[in-house]
Symmetry: C2
Subunit: 188 residues, 2 copies
DNA sequence: GTGCACATGTAAACTGTTACATGATTGC
DNA sequence: GCAATCATGTAACAGTTTACATGTGCAC
């Protein structure tokens, strides 16, 4: 059982979707902690179905291609419920090209370095603003369910909070780096 | 030219090392922004050598195997200097298993969830403490060079600052999640 | 004598991304 | 006519991890 399988189970426990739907949801809603394209998703759905963790029914559509709507099974739900609180030992490999560049920034041109970090800061600030908007909407939904921790909105809320914290921290770091460079240029 | 190539150039611009040395340095000093094993490093060094970005000389040793000491060439240095301030468009894929679990935490047992996040918080707090120790040492080195931004210690300093910020933010988030769960348990 | 540190490589397996492949409908 | 959205898949490629392979010397 690979992690992508759990990703799909997590989405299917919230509703029934086609492979196409799941691809969109991944891109639009959970891209800040997982990414996958349709070429990974379709085979994985087939694997989950072979293991009876999900089922599907073919829905015929007029003027559009037929689609397979997948639903989680009881076995899938049980597996997922068990897995979510299982100790995580595997730290995912961290690879960050910007930090790599920062490590060698002392070699490069300061003006260009400032430009690089200003661009990055802007991107993270933009991302942060988007996440905050999404968070406001999620919080509203969660409120309507009385802020219960067994509501799916609780999951959305706490995970997006990490996305927000990360982007804020990243943007702050970018600005701090710019300051450091400027001080080094004009300083004693 | 792949990113791992630049990683090795960044280390070799600071000194001359063997493949074995580089493997150790990667693990011990820059693991928070890049990871690679020796099976990736040896072939990549050969590639860099073929492109005249690095050279090596074989150093014979008594009572130990011979080693190849690699050094960066002028061409390698020039390529690296240019690359470090080049705009970064490729956002590295974010994949975080704990955030994935958080997204579905509403399904799982709260007690076990708390334990999961306490364990994680502890690991990030430990990591944070280690980074801060390393940072103190780096700052000392950098001070001795008058905090010049064209010192290699500047690169070490700013990149590790990101590692520290990230770990602090992550640990904070873990504690915050625990609080949220506890409030949900005892709340109205 | 067992395991660890030094030292360098290759091969196989796995994961993930990009490209190929098909086909209908809707909007510009 | 051309691009975009819906819809599902396979194939090729690139990058990463794990395992295989070999050999010396030192400490316990």
């Amino acid at each position: 059982m690979k992690t992508l399988g759990y990703v799909l189970l997590e989405l299917l426990v919230r509703g029934s979707y086609s492979g196409y739907d799941l691809t969109q949801i991944l891109k639009q809603r959970i891209a800040y902690f997982w990414q996958a394209g349709h070429s990974q998703i379709y085979p994985e759905l087939a694997r989950l179905e072979a293991e009876n963790l999900v089922t599907f029914e073919v829905v015929a559509q007029e003027d559009r291609p037929d689609k397979k709507i997948y639903s989680i099974t009881e076995a899938g739900r049980a597996l997922l419920r068990e897995w979510v609180t299982t100790p995580t030992d595997s730290f995912p490999p961290k690879r960050d090209e910007l930090v790599l560049k920062a490590y060698c920034l002392w070699l490069g041109d300061p003006e260009r370095a400032i430009k690089l970090f200003e661009d990055q800061a802007q991107q993270h600030t933009k991302q942060l603003a988007d996440y905050r908007k999404a968070q406001a909407w999620i919080e509203q939904q969660w409120d309507q369910e009385g802020r219960r921790i067994d509501s799916q909105w609780f999951g959305s809320y706490i995970s997006l909070q990490r996305g927000i914290g990360n982007e804020r921290e990243y943007a702050d770091w970018c600005h701090w780096v710019i300051e450091q460079i400027k001080q080094g240029q004009t300083g004693p």
